[in-house]
């Protein structure tokens, strides 16, 4: 296995792929779907929002390890964030993942495991898919978004 592959498929990513957290349905609440037609990757993000705080987040769907791990890490990470903070986080993640390999990037904490995709540009769309769905759900747009 090459160094690149280990950066992409970090233990954290493999673990979340194997055992995705918050992989379940939710009745009511806000939701939106990310669907990449060419890949077939599909992830529905559900949020329970009280006031302007995300109290619960979960997802369903199917996709590659990167999509699943990204969605799983995301649902863990956004709980108890305000809508504004979550929106800012999506923007920060987008920006960080678009930094070319080798250049310095923000420390995303637990989400850093997702930054390995920078070495595999065609997989960036996988990492971002759940986050774009999140953004649509945050804006209460129950729609289908794509990152292809």
């Amino acid at each position: 296995m090459t160094v690149d592959l280990h950066a992409l498929y970090q233990e954290v990513v493999l673990d979340h792929n194997r055992q995705p957290r918050n992989f379940r349905a939710m009745q009511g609440g806000r939701k939106a779907e990310g669907f990449n037609r060419i890949c077939g990757d599909r992830v529905t993000v559900h949020l329970r929002v009280e006031g302007d705080v995300i109290r619960d987040a979960c997802f369903q769907g199917s996709g590659c390890a990167i999509v699943k791990a990204s969605a799983s890490l995301m649902t863990e990470h956004i709980r108890e964030l305000t809508l504004a903070d979550a929106t800012a986080l999506v923007e920060r993640l987008r920006r960080t993942l678009s930094v070319p390999p080798g250049a310095p990037i923000d420390d995303l904490g637990a989400l850093s495991a997702l930054t390995g995709v920078r070495l595999f540009p065609i997989r960036i769309k996988c990492a971002v898919l759940p986050w774009e769905a999140l953004l649509a759900a945050l804006n209460a747009r129950d729609e289908v978004v794509s990152t292809e």
């Binding site: 498929y9 493999l14 060419i38 077939g40 990757d41 599909r42 996709g63 990167i66």
Partner: protein, 382 residues
């Protein structure tokens, strides 16, 4: 190492040289003008057509139409034969394993005409259900369109039998031969089909060139496909006379270099012998089936009794795209995804599969490397 030959094949030196020689020594438009360079180009182009006709064992050279590829060949038939023979409530029969290129042109036609697509179901092994096929044929069936070899499963369909049953009811048959021509000898008269489509680039030839074989009797009665130069004998504002076959279907300056490259590719595979190619691929397929069966959690999609050199598979708990990325870093190029067969993926209830597709230049060593890389994937995702 390259195991994505169902997507496109690599080009032997003789093909590249032939294309280059046309541009350096023979470059001219064909069927136009009187200069000798144009004459040489025309002779070479028509010689390529003869080479294709012999390759397919077509009864007449004029039954060979040069097109951009298998996709255009199917579109040509759908929009000429289809347009004039299919009406409201008529039916077109395709199979569940068709590539989008042998499905979408028929859907477009059906939408336009108010006709219906009827689908031949497949078994879990990936074979056509012939008894269901028989039941689909009726007085409203206007054409049957099936793949010779499935790009996603490797199944070699019993096309001669498909044709026999359709012809018993007077229904013409189009065969999509895109995956067949590089893998086995094809004789259109023996198959009995009315149309046969293939692409040059999957047969070690250039991209942008392909062939539609059509039975003369049908081609003659079909309206032109595209209008333009080359496909006419006389044009006046009141009335235009069309060329005879095959030029009636070749409007515009054709892809001469492509046709010559394709003829060179055909020469290349026939020199090797397509029976030998088939034997090599078949031995490699058996070897690969054995080698990959040893990978824990691997399941083949497509286990037909009669199969060409295509190994499509799923790995428990590992998405095909992850397999593709890891194999790529191990230097192994395979295809992952829906293989332009979304209805088939729906039938298999999977979003995608991984596919290693073989060609005459692949070796057992390469299969070993593939299997070893799959063991590594397994280990990583364990």
């Amino acid at each position: 190492m390259y195991l994505d030959n169902a997507a496109t094949t690599h080009k032997p030196r003789v093909v590249i040289d032939r294309v280059a020689r046309y541009y350096t020594e023979e470059n001219a438009s064909v069927h136009r003008g009187v200069h000798s360079l144009g004459e040489r180009a025309t002779d070479a182009y028509e010689g390529a057509r003869e080479r294709v006709a012999r390759f397919l064992n077509a009864a007449e050279t004029r039954e060979v139409i040069f097109v951009r590829g298998a996709t255009e060949a199917v579109n040509l038939v759908a929009s000429t034969y289809g347009r004039t023979h299919v009406g409201p409530d008529d039916e077109i029969v395709v199979s569940e394993m068709e590539h989008h290129s042998n499905l979408v042109p028929w859907q477009i036609l059906c939408d336009e005409k108010g006709a219906r697509l009827r689908i031949i179901p497949i078994t879990d092994a990936g074979e056509l259900r012939m008894e269901s096929y028989e039941q689909l044929l009726n007085d409203r069936t206007r054409i049957v369109a099936v793949a010779h070899v499935s790009n996603a499963l490797g199944t070699v369909n019993p096309v001669a039998e498909v044709v026999r049953r359709a012809h018993a009811r007077g229904i013409p048959v189009l065969v999509d031969g895109a995956q067949a021509v590089a893998r086995m000898p094809v004789d259109v008269q023996e198959l009995g089909c009315d149309f046969y489509a293939f692409s040059g680039h999957k047969l070690f030839g250039p991209t942008g060139i392909g062939v539609l074989y059509g039975r003369e009797r049908l081609l003659d009665k079909m309206p032109p496909y595209q209008g333009g130069g080359g496909m006419i004998t006389s044009v006046a504002f009141e009335r235009t006379e069309y060329s005879a076959l095959p030029l009636k279907f070749e409007a515009g300056t054709p892809h001469v270099a492509g046709a010559l490259g394709l003829a060179a590719a055909i020469e290349y595979v026939t020199d090797l012998g397509l029976d030998r190619v088939r034997a090599h691929e078949s031995a490699l397929l058996d070897y690969g089936t054995g080698a990959l069966s040893g990978v824990p959690g691997l399941r083949f999609t497509g286990t037909a009794a009669n199969k060409a050199g295509i190994l499509a598979f799923l790995l428990d708990g590992v998405h095909p795209h992850d397999i593709g990325t890891i194999l790529d870093r191990a230097g192994v190029a395979i295809r992952v995804g829906h293989h332009c067969c979304q209805p088939l993926m729906a039938r298999l209830r999977v979003p995608a599969t991984a596919r290693a597709s073989l060609a005459l230049y692949n070796t057992r060593d390469e299969i070993d490397t593939l299997a070893a890389a799959l063991f590594e994937v397994r280990e990583m995702f364990a």
